[in-house]
């Protein structure tokens, strides 16, 4: 299956792009996606612990099982206000 990944804020600079796609086995979790992303974009790895992850417009935990076509967003801590 394939998921779309968007980067926000300075994660765009660290990744060198605003979005990418990832091919994963059926039932892969966000955890598995992160492993794949960090292999391809190693500058994102040091921020792993503070990285926030959404699927669509909802936050999801690392254990969340992705589905084909999911829109995943990775971003640093938010700073509204």
């Amino acid at each position: 299956m394939q998921v779309n990944v968007q980067f926000w804020s300075y994660f765009k600079e660290l990744a060198g792009c605003a979005e990418t796609t990832a091919n994963l086995g059926e039932g892969a979790t966000i955890e598995a996606l992160l492993k794949e992303i960090y292999a391809r974009f190693p500058k994102l790895a040091p921020a792993e612990k503070s990285t926030l992850i959404a699927v669509g417009v909802d936050y999801q935990p690392r254990s969340y099982k992705l589905a084909d076509g999911d829109e995943v967003s990775l971003f640093p801590p938010v700073q509204g206000g």
Binding site: W8, S9, A54, V57, Y59, S73, F75, Q79, G80, G81
Partner: protein
């Protein structure tokens, strides 16, 4: 509870927003907060902040916060305006209004909303030198 969220790249006209206020006759309290861009970010002097937003998710996350306000307190209305793009030092980037029967819940809800926003609403700052 009436809800209003505005994401805008135009300056926030607080006076106009206050003039548009409506309150039914059981309401005694209006609490407001205006967050204004400061001249320093960390140690560095800045001239502005460029706000970036994940627009759809901002709207959804604010809706979830509004749901929580509604569960916790009896409020008549909440209005939030967040400015996006470049906001100069001294200009408001955030404006919040809570209308409630009494001040205690108006203040509590206003602070809760801002605290939750700063935790969950996907907006980011880019300081401009």
């Amino acid at each position: 509870m009436t809800r209003s969220l505005t994401l805008t790249s135009s300056p926030i006209d607080e006076a106009a927003l206050v003039r548009e206020r409506t309150m039914s006759c059981g309401m005694g309290a209006a609490a407001y907060f205006a967050g204004v861009v400061r001249g320093t970010e960390g140690e560095a002097e800045i001239s502005a902040i460029n706000y970036e937003a994940f627009h759809n998710m901002v709207e959804h996350q604010f809706a979830l916060i509004f749901d929580q306000l509604e569960r916790r307190w009896t409020l008549e209305s909440v209005r939030v305006v967040h400015r996006l793009g470049v906001v100069k030092v001294g200009e408001p980037s955030l404006w919040v209004e809570i209308i409630a029967p009494h001040r205690v819940e108006a203040f509590a809800a206003c602070q809760f909303l801002i605290d939750e926003m700063k935790r969950w609403v996907p907006i980011w700052k880019n300081p401009v030198k």
